[in-house]
C-alpha cells in the first residue's frame, strides 16, 4: 500500500516541496527512512511509531519504507514528523484520503502523540501558499505566527489524534482567522533627547540613518558611544509590511520569535558580544541557521569594542556588507540568507582609551597603531562615517536645555529616505549607501567648484580612492537632507569632516 503526502521543507528562506512517500508491504517488519534525512529526521521513525501507538492507532507490523523525495536534497529538522505519521496512517487506510489533498501537515510529534511547536513556521506557510496549498495543519503554539499569512486556511491542532479525527470529519476545528495586521509598534524606553550635547554625533547619526550609511564611533570610555548607538533604532523609519515579513521569516527560522509578538515590527537591533565566532556571526552550523548579520537584516548590527573582535570574524563581514546577502555552503548545501543591515561600530581611539581627550593618554604611537591595526583596512573602507565622540561636560548633562526628540528626527529621516526611494525607483536600490560606481557617476555628479575643493582636500590629506566614493555618498545624503538636487560646495565641505580616522 502506497501513500504520498506533499509537504514543504526549507532551504534557507526558500521552500521546496517534499513528497513523503510511504510504502507498507509484507515482509520482515522494519521501518526505514531514505532520501537524505539528517539525524533528527532519522530519529523521527521512533517518535512517529510510538506516537501512533499512543494515539490509539495501529502501527503496521510490516515492512515500511519511507522516502523523502527529491532524494538528492538534504532535509533537516523535525517539522516532517506529522506528515510521516499521517502518511503511515493513511497507508493503513485509517484516514479519509480525500481530505488530505492540498493540505500541509507540519509539526513535531512527542511520543505521547502531542504536537510540538517548530521553528520557521512563517516561511513554511508563505512558501506553502505560493505552491498552491489550500490549508495547513500546524501545532497550536505556532498559530499566532502562522496567521500572518492570508489566503491559506490555518488549522491549529493539539495532537495527532485530533488531526486524524479532524480529517475523518469526526470533529471540527475552527481555522484561525488571519488577524488584522496588528501594527502596534513597540514603544522605546529611551529617546534621543536623553543625549545631552554631542551635536556633532547627533548630526552624523542622522546622516547615517538617512542614507543608510555604516558608522563608526570612536571615543574614550564613558563618552556615550553605546548609549547613542542604541538610540539609532528610534530614529529609523518603521519597517514596511514586506520588510517586516522578510525579517520575521529569518527570525522564525532562527527561533527568535516570541509568542507575544509574532510579527517583527521594529527594526532589529543586534549587538553580539565580541567573543562571537565567525560562524555565529555570518551563519552556519550543522543546520545552517542564520547568523547575527541575517538576524539584523533591515536593522542595525552594533559591534561594540570593534578591535576586540577576532580579526577573521570581522573580515567575514566584508562580503555581506557589499552584497547584502550571505551565501553559506555546508556539507553539500548551499543557502543564501539576506543581510542588508546598517553597521554601527564603536571603539576606543587607543588601548588606554584616552587618546585625544582631556585625560592624558598613556599610550605610545606604536601601541596605538597596533590597536587600530586590529581592524582591517578593507573593513574600515566600508564604513562611510567615522566620527569622534567626546566626553560630555558636567554642566552639559545637567543642563535643562531641551534636546530634540527621536520623533522629530525620525520625521526628517523618513522624508530624506523618501526622496532617495523616489530617485532610485528604477535602479533597484533604496538608499544612497547602496550606490555602485556606475550609479554614482549618474547621481553624484559634482560641479567644477566642488571638484576643485575635493581634489585639494585629497592632495592635502592623501586620502584613498575608496574614501573618495564614501565622501561622495555622504555628501549626496547631506544634499538630500538639504532638499538640494545637486551636490553643493557646502555639502562636500561637511562630508569630509566625517572621515576622522583617515586623517589620523
Amino acid at each position: 500500500m502506497l501513500s504520498i503526502i506533499k509537504c514543504v521543507a526549507l532551504n534557507g528562506i526558500q521552500g521546496f516541496i517534499v513528497d513523503v512517500q510511504v510504502d507498507v508491504s509484507n515482509g520482515i517488519p522494519k521501518c526505514d527512512i531514505v532520501g537524505l534525512p539528517d539525524a533528527s529526521i532519522r530519529e523521527s521513525k521512533e517518535r512517529v511509531s510510538t506516537a501512533i501507538k499512543n494515539s490509539g492507532f495501529e502501527f503496521p507490523n510490516k515492512k515500511i519504507i519511507i522516502n523523502l523525495a527529491p532524494a538528492t536534497v538534504r532535509k533537516e529538522g523535525t517539522a516532517l514528523d506529522l506528515s510521516i505519521a499521517i502518511a503511515i496512517i493513511s497507508a493503513n487506510k485509517n484516514v479519509n484520503v480525500n481530505n488530505i489533498q492540498q493540505t500541509l501537515f507540519i509539526g513535531e510529534l512527542g511520543i505521547d502523540g502531542n504536537l510540538i511547536a517548530i521553528n520557521g513556521i512563517l516561511p513554511i506557510c508563505i512558501e506553502a501558499k505560493r505552491m498552491g496549498f489550500k490549508r495547513a495543519i500546524i501545532p497550536e503554539q505556532n498559530c499566532r505566527e502562522a496567521c500572518i499569512v492570508d489566503n491559506i486556511e490555518i488549522i491549529p491542532a493539539k495532537s495527532l489524534k485530533q488531526v486524524v479525527m479532524f480529517l475523518n470529519n469526526q470533529i471540527s476545528i475552527n481555522p484561525v482567522k488571519s488577524k488584522e495586521k496588528s501594527y502596534n509598534e513597540k514603544q522605546f524606553l529611551f529617546d534621543f533627547s536623553d543625549v545631552k550635547g554631542q551635536k556633532n554625533i547627533k548630526r552624523a547619526l542622522e546622516i547615517a540613518a538617512s542614507g543608510g550609511h555604516n558608522c563608526l564611533l570612536i571615543g574614550s570610555p564613558g563618552s556615550g558611544k553605546t548609549m547613542m548607538a542604541k538610540r539609532i533604532q528610534t530614529i529609523l523609519p518603521n519597517l514596511t509590511f514586506d520588510e517586516s515579513i522578510e525579517v520575521t521569516k529569518i527570525h522564525s527560522i532562527a527561533g527568535k520569535l516570541s509568542n507575544n509578538n509574532p510579527l517583527v515590527v521594529n527594526r532589529p537591533f543586534v549587538s553580539p558580544h565580541y567573543s562571537i565566532t565567525k560562524i555565529a556571526l555570518v551563519g552556519g552550523y550543522k543546520e545552517i541557521k542564520p547568523g547575527e548579520i541575517s538576524i539584523a537584516h533591515n536593522g542595525i548590527l552594533f559591534l561594540d569594542e570593534l578591535p576586540e573582535f577576532d580579526r577573521g570574524t570581522l573580515d567575514a563581514l566584508r562580503g555581506p556588507l557589499e552584497d547584502g546577502k550571505i551565501q553559506i555552503n555546508r556539507s553539500g548545501m548551499n543557502i543564501s540568507y539576506p543581510c542588508k543591515f546598517m553597521l554601527i561600530a564603536s571603539m576606543n581611539p587607543c588601548p588606554c582609551g584616552y587618546y585625544g581627550s582631556e585625560n592624558p593618554c598613556k599610550c605610545n604611537e606604536n601601541s596605538i597603531r597596533r590597536y587600530l591595526n586590529k581592524v582591517s583596512g578593507p573593513l574600515l573602507d566600508r564604513i562611510d562615517i567615522q566620527v569622534r565622540v567626546e566626553r560630555v561636560k558636567y554642566h552639559d548633562f545637567n543642563s535643562e536645555n531641551e534636546e530634540e526628540s527621536s520623533a522629530t528626527i525620525k520625521e526628517r529621516v523618513k522624508k530624506v529616505r523618501n526622496i532617495q526611494n523616489e530617485r532610485y525607483k528604477e535602479e533597484g536600490i533604496l538608499l544612497n549607501s547602496e550606490l555602485n560606481s556606475e550609479q554614482m557617476k549618474k547621481y553624484c555628479r559634482l560641479n567644477k567648484n566642488c571638484e576643485k575643493i575635493l581634489e585639494k582636500y585629497f592632495d592635502k590629506l592623501k586620502l584613498s580612492a575608496r574614501a573618495y566614493s564614501k565622501i561622495l555618498k555622504v555628501a549626496r545624503t547631506i544634499a538630500d537632507m538639504d532638499s538640494s538636487k545637486e551636490i553643493d560646495k557646502t555639502h562636500i565641505l561637511e562630508a569630509v569632516q566625517y572621515r576622522n580616522l583617515d586623517k589620523f
Binding site: 605610545n364 604611537e365 569622534r388 582636500y457 565641505l493 561637511e494 569632516q497
Partner: protein, 304 residues
Amino acid sequence: MEKNVYELFRNDSLFPEQLRCVKPKINKLYAWGNVNLLGSKSVAIVGSRNSSKYGDFMTRKIIKDLVKYNITIISGMAIGIDAIAHDECLRNGGNTIAILGSGFNKIYPKENAWLLYKIIENNGLILSEYSYNEPVQKKNFPKRNRIISGLSEAVVVIEGSYRSGTSITARNAVIQGKKLFYVPNCVGGKNSYESIKLAKDGAKIATCGSDIYNEIGGEDIDTYELKIKEKNNNLNKAISKLDRESKLVFFCIKKIGSLSCNKISEITKIEIVKVNQILSLLELSDLICSADINNYKIREEFCE
C-alpha cells in the same frame, strides 16, 4: 646578496675618517647603498623607542628643516624616533644613513624591513659592523651606538628615559667630542630624563633645525628665513580674506588651543553643520590642521 654591498676595511680609502679614532676599534664595516654619503655633513637623531606624540612631532619638525639645509640624517632604524627620523627624511627627499646592530639579512625589528628597502631605493645607505647573517643580539645594539655618534657631526637627543640606549649614544658623543643637542621636554615625564640631564650638563637646546645648523656651520640661512616670512605674510592675507564666521572660528581655535567641532559650536554659537563646513575650509586654506582625531589646532607658524 644584492648589489651595491661593500666591505670597508680600516685601511680602505672609503672608510670614514671620523670612525678611525672611535673606540672600541672598528675593523670592518659592511655598507649597502650609496657610500658617497659617508663624507657628507650629517646629524644623528637619537631617541626613545616608546616615543610620545610630542617627540614624534618634534622629530619630524627638526628633520624637515635639516633636510632643507642638505644635511644627512643618521639614525639606528629602531622603532620609535629612529624610524620616524628616517621616514620623515625620505619623505622630504633627504639623504639618510641607517646603522644596524645586526647583519643585513637579520633586520631588527622586522616591522621596519620596508624602511630598509625604502632607504636603499631612495639612494640612502645602510651600515653595519656585523656580517650578513649575524643574528640579532641584545649586546650588539649599545655597541653600534658609538658608530652613530662617531659618524655624525652633531647628536640630537629627542626623548630618552633613564639608562636608555639614548643615554649611551649621548655619552659616546661627549667622549668623541661631538656637539650635543637636546629637545626640551617637561620635567618628570617618562621620556624626559635624558634631555633634562643633558640640559643640566650643558648641552645645547634645539627647537628647530636652524638651531643645529647654526652650530655646525654652513651656508647662509637668511634666504630660508625670508621664505618663512613670505609664507607668513601669505597666510595673514588668507585670514583677512575670511568671512566673519570663519574668522570667529579661527580666532577661537587660536585662543584656546586644540578644540573639537562640538566645543567650537558651543563657544561661538554657530550651528554644528556650519562649523564643520568652516573647519574644512580653514583646513584647506592651510590655516588649521588636525591635532588628533577630530581636534583642530592652528598651524604652528601662527603661534608667535
